[in-house]
Symmetry: C2
Subunit: 216 residues, 2 copies
């Protein structure tokens, strides 16, 4: 299975690529192909040092979409509309949104777009046959990157496409100690996306780092 990461050199994308590359063929996209290639070389070295075999190539965001079965949109909410507008070829692909629409004021606030959530905005922007899921919303960049630590969090997954949801939940369950939970249709993805600003506030007010959640 080929996983493309749009924004794969960003804060979240880079660690995500390193966690996924030992398990799947990972195609890292970036606005500049060269940046993606450099990032991949670095990641491959990191993984090789650990004796981990991996499949990782750096390409443009468009090629990451074209060549993948599953596309993860590892981009900040503020770049979401512009990035998606410049890309095509999402027909029939599974598209994963870990995007959280939020703002930092004195504290973090969930500020969804008029569509109701980032995932619903993605669904509206992409062709109807794109199979949109939300997943990985609450995993902090530092946790993705800290390859020597397990990530033992729960990951709620939303989608209106049950097969796509099962596929994404399977991927989630392969990464470290992440555990996927079916959180329902895309209509309730706002409740998942609003977890992240909540966790950032919890971290801040309780002097913790990279807080995640477990469902029990």
């Amino acid at each position: 299975m080929k996983i493309g990461i749009v924004g794969g050199t960003g804060d979240i994308g880079e660690g995500m690529a390193m966690r996924l590359a030992p398990l799947y063929d990972v195609i890292v996209g970036s606005r500049e192909k060269e940046k993606a290639q450099a990032s991949c070389e670095c990641s491959i070295q990191s993984l090789q040092k650990r004796g981990t075999e991996c499949s990782l190539v750096g390409v443009s965001n468009q090629v990451a979409v074209d060549d993948a079965d599953i596309v993860i949109l590892a981009i900040p909410f503020k770049n979401l509309t512009a990035t998606l507008s410049g890309l095509n070829g999402f027909e029939d692909k599974v598209v994963v949104s870990p995007v959280n629409p939020m703002e930092k004021r004195d504290f973090f606030v969930f500020v969804p777009p008029p569509e109701g959530s980032a995932a619903l905005l993605v669904q509206q922007m992409l062709p109807k046959s794109a199979r949109v899921c939300s997943a990985f919303n609450t995993i902090a960049a530092n946790k993705w990157r800290a390859l020597d630590e397990e990530i033992a969090y729960s990951v709620p997954v939303c989608s209106d496409d049950n097969k796509a949801k099962q596929q994404v939940m399977e991927i989630v369950n392969h990464v470290s100690k992440l555990q996927a939970y079916d959180a329902g249709p895309l209509a309730v993805s706002a409740m998942v996306e609003s977890l992240t600003p909540l966790l950032l506030n919890i971290a801040r007010y309780n002097r913790m780092r990279d807080v995640g959640i477990q469902f029990k």
Copy 2:
């Protein structure tokens, strides 16, 4: 410290009273005083069977407000406005809202009032000197009631009044294995209240019972 529970004979309130009564003076309120008294007798018997001493009296909702230092509004969202409209005397009291504005459609959806959250609605309805906190939002009625089981969940607490928040967090930390977390001001209480419909969906779609959360 005297804790009044408005709606103390309801689904959440009854178990909450039994968990709190061994620790604090608990005043159970109900629309009908007789119902509160009957419920308290039952609860006292349950606790005595376990050899647990407790302080528990049943009164009207108004007396539960009048006689308490801290008032917990253990009422469903749909009754919130009507109940608060019929009560007074909240001046200077710490008022705890565990209320979650949600609807059950094909799945559970967070449906906040125009104020932004149930806790913000409470703040707007009560006198300015009332010290409103949100807490206990995600603890299921069954968990409150299952006295022989520990409840090992995280409890986010919001308030604009730091002293009130500290007081409520201390109470949370005394109940079973609950652990309180400062989740910020009341302005972000919507993110806490929307956890409950999320957890209800997780329970439903993953065939679990009474799902809670832990921050890690």
